[in-house]
Amino acid sequence: MTEDRQSRVSRRRYLQLAGGAAATAAVAGCSGNSDELDTETPTGDGGGNQSGDDTGSGGDQGNQGDGEFAVTITQGQMDAGLDPHDHRETNTDIILMQIYEGTLNRNPDGQVTEGLAENYDQAEPNRVRLTLREGVTFHSGDELTPEDVAFSINRIVNEDVGDLASPQSDQLAGITEARPVDGERAVDVISDGVNPMAIGLLASYGDIMQKSWVESRGSNEINSDANGTGPFQLSNYVQDERIEYTKYEEYWREPAEVDTLTINAAAESSTRVNQLVSGETDIVENVPPQEVSRINSNDNTSVEAVPSTRVIYNGMRYDVEPFSSLQFRQAMNYAIDLETIVSEVLADFSDPTGQPTLEGFVGYNPDIDPYPYDVEQAEQLVEESGFAGATIELHTPVGRYLKDLEIAQAVVGYINELSNVDASVNQRDFGELAGQLTTGNIEDMPHWYLIGWGNMAFDASQTLIPLLSTGGALSSWSNEEFDNLMNEAGGTADAEQREQLLQEANQLAHDEAPWIFLNRQYSVYGASSRIDWQPRRDESIKAYEISQP
């Protein structure tokens, strides 16, 4: 362990906490009364355990007692600590987005809306001005200031601010600094050049924390306590087990309809579904297709699915045979019956794709259709490529994406139906495979692999640059024309012109077929009928959007 890591949890601080926790537990254990116990029990917090003493009507567990609207959400995993700037992980995000907010926001369809900033304006190609809303307060009671906003953005992009090298710095790519505007309730966000993405990035990332609150606390405290401006405030946090919230009455919008919220976790999908079906929780994430009928056949629960921002594809290395041949790569796309894979393997919880960018993203090209299923065409292209008789092996992770292994097996099955190619599946550990894909050296990568990519910024560039441009973080392709288009788009401040360039890049990617284009994954949830809630495309779950039916 180096000093840097150790400093995050100083030994003395830990001993203080441990001593305090032990004392609290001891006191609670000896002097408990029923009120205190209620905060521990799911019957009290609306988790609604269905044991003998529950005399309330089924499906109404959250409304016991004083008519409080209590909601429970069950994820696959809990958080990696409560510092909103010190993680890169969806489960942690969902836990924190109830408490913390950014300056800008997105509606459930992904469009940018105002957040803590009531106004935003691309003042110059490298400068965005955010005008802050009046009357926003932190849960500590203090008012939000431009200094807080500038500090939070700087804490992410600048290692020297707030004693944190944030792993999110590249989520605010290009942004170098934020500074309060003299005499105005505004902040300028500065980029290192033309940055057409800045507003989009601020709408997805960049949670705002209170400067004085962060500066007066050690890392351990920031990771176990919370003080945001969001619709819910932290009431109880048991690391690895659950987090409980109450609604923040002074919230700058209408206070939430949900009075108390609990988020907990169960790694096993069947355990989550059991909890939902028996009324112990209201929303469960990552429902696998085989559990769907169990949820739908229950009177009080239903499956809610929404297209996510994650695309699944088969990358092919352009520098090795037979994938160096354009005809061969195209043949692989013609060889698979994508529609059938989507309907049979994925039970329609997916959409077929024909380009790297997903529908609804900036830069999506509406004129591109997925490759049709055409065995003859595929065989002929293989002959033309000169690689008839090739033997190829698909490297796939298992259990990382919805039905990943089954998709890989289907792809290989279709390719084996060609008379002139032999294909097989190589099941890989995700960590090992991802490690090979991210060394930065194309020669370390498998020749043909299945992987998924989520893009929460709703912009083509956040997929095209890392996955397809020369030298991109996960790129196994290189094409000068494509790189030029991306460079041009990156330097274009005009939104329409940029969109045009990104669409051209997508067309080129479709034609050059550096991937076998597969599916857009869906987020599949199970939800109880005692809540009214719509899932979002960006994989987030905002309890503020939950209401009583």
Binding site: E40, G52, E89, D240
Partner: protein, 328 residues
């Protein structure tokens, strides 16, 4: 050799075994595929970020330096810091121990309550329907996989019948007892409701095993000379069976119970996953999924050490109560 020397010798052996466990667990990290940095950094992280993470975690040090650092840490109770959250591994691991111990003990209690009466009935009514029922039960118990039984119990008793909760552990035994002492039984009832299904799941294999052991032990004892002697003295049959024969049967049974407690602590992993039980097992599985090595290593060391500890204690107790044991 005196009893005290025997204890010292066994403890030293135990320490060597634990050291062996630590070494194997440490080396496991280097023989397993999957670079932990891949799980910590985003997929598109720059090489510089990956390098910085490796430095922060000390992963760029030579193997022997990492090993010695780790050993030195363990001696002071420091198991390192979670790769993912940066929190102290030891704190998180020991926070999980009570839940796992509760489950292992509850499973043992379930096993004792069911298996000993069943074994006795089976032995005393040999070749009668009760005996066949008991042997069939124990055969089924030994052949049923834990995870399947757990899922079935949940489907029937929690989802269909709504008798018991499906999973989780909202309150621990100690705080629940605290409330009970203060006159509030709600906590302990809640605890019992939540632990019932996992305890039965985990205890079933064990129940089946001990039933067979009790049955054969009891049959053995009932055939011995002292039983005939007791009977011929005119002692009532109940007294012969339960005071004399059963008592002798229980000596080896208790040894097995003790030894199995260690197995239960390690074997709870699958049961904990099915019931989202916040013990060491769930922590191990979650940590494996994210390659959070300090947590994986710490959990395995705690499980391994508890096994060694229980074995040593059981051996010592056995030697103490059984004068036939020679200390060598």
């Amino acid at each position: 050799m005196s009893f005290a020397r025997f204890i010292i010798k066994r403890s030293l052996q135990g320490i060597f075994v634990v050291w062996g466990v630590v070494t194997v667990v440490f080396l496991l990290r280097f023989s397993t595929p999957g670079d932990p940095i891949t799980f910590i950094a985003p997929l598109d992280a720059s090489p510089a970020l990956r390098q910085r993470i490796a430095e922060e975690l000390g992963l760029n040090q030579p193997l022997y330096v990492q090993y010695l650092d780790y050993l030195a840490g363990l001696l002071t109770g420091d198991m390192g810091y979670s790769y993912i959250s940066g929190t102290e591994a030891a704190t998180r691991i020991f926070a999980r121990v009570p839940a796992t111990v509760e489950l292992a003990v509850a499973a043992t209690v379930v096993a004792i309550l069911i298996s000993i009466p069943l074994g006795v009935i089976s032995a005393t009514r040999r070749h009668e329907p009760a005996d066949y029922a008991a042997t069939t039960f124990s055969l089924a118990g030994i052949s049923t996989p834990n995870f399947w039984l757990g899922i079935m119990l949940v489907l029937v008793f929690a989802v269909q019948l709504n008798f018991l909760p499906t999973s989780r552990r909202p309150i621990g035994f100690t705080p629940a007892m605290g409330y009970l002492v203060a006159g509030n039984p709600a906590g302990i009832i809640l605890w019992l409701q939540h632990i019932t299904l996992p305890a039965i799941t985990l205890g079933t294999y064990f129940t089946a095993l001990v039933t067979r052991l009790t049955r054969s032990g009891m049959l053995d004892e009932l055939g011995k000379g002292y039983v005939d002697a007791a009977r011929s003295k005119g002692l009532p049959e109940t007294l012969v069976r339960y005071k004399h024969a059963l008592r002798n049967t229980l000596i080896p049974v208790i040894t097995v119970l003790g030894l199995q407690l260690g197995t239960l602590i390690g074997g709870a992993v699958i049961t904990e996953a099915v019931f989202a039980w916040p013990g060491l097992g769930t922590l191990v599985i979650n940590s494996i999924n994210t390659r959070d090595w300090p947590l994986i290593q710490g959990c395995l060391i705690v499980i391994g050490s508890s096994f060694v500890f229980v074995n040593t204690v059981v051996d010592a107790l056995y030697a103490y109560v059984n004068p036939q044991v020679v200390y060598d």
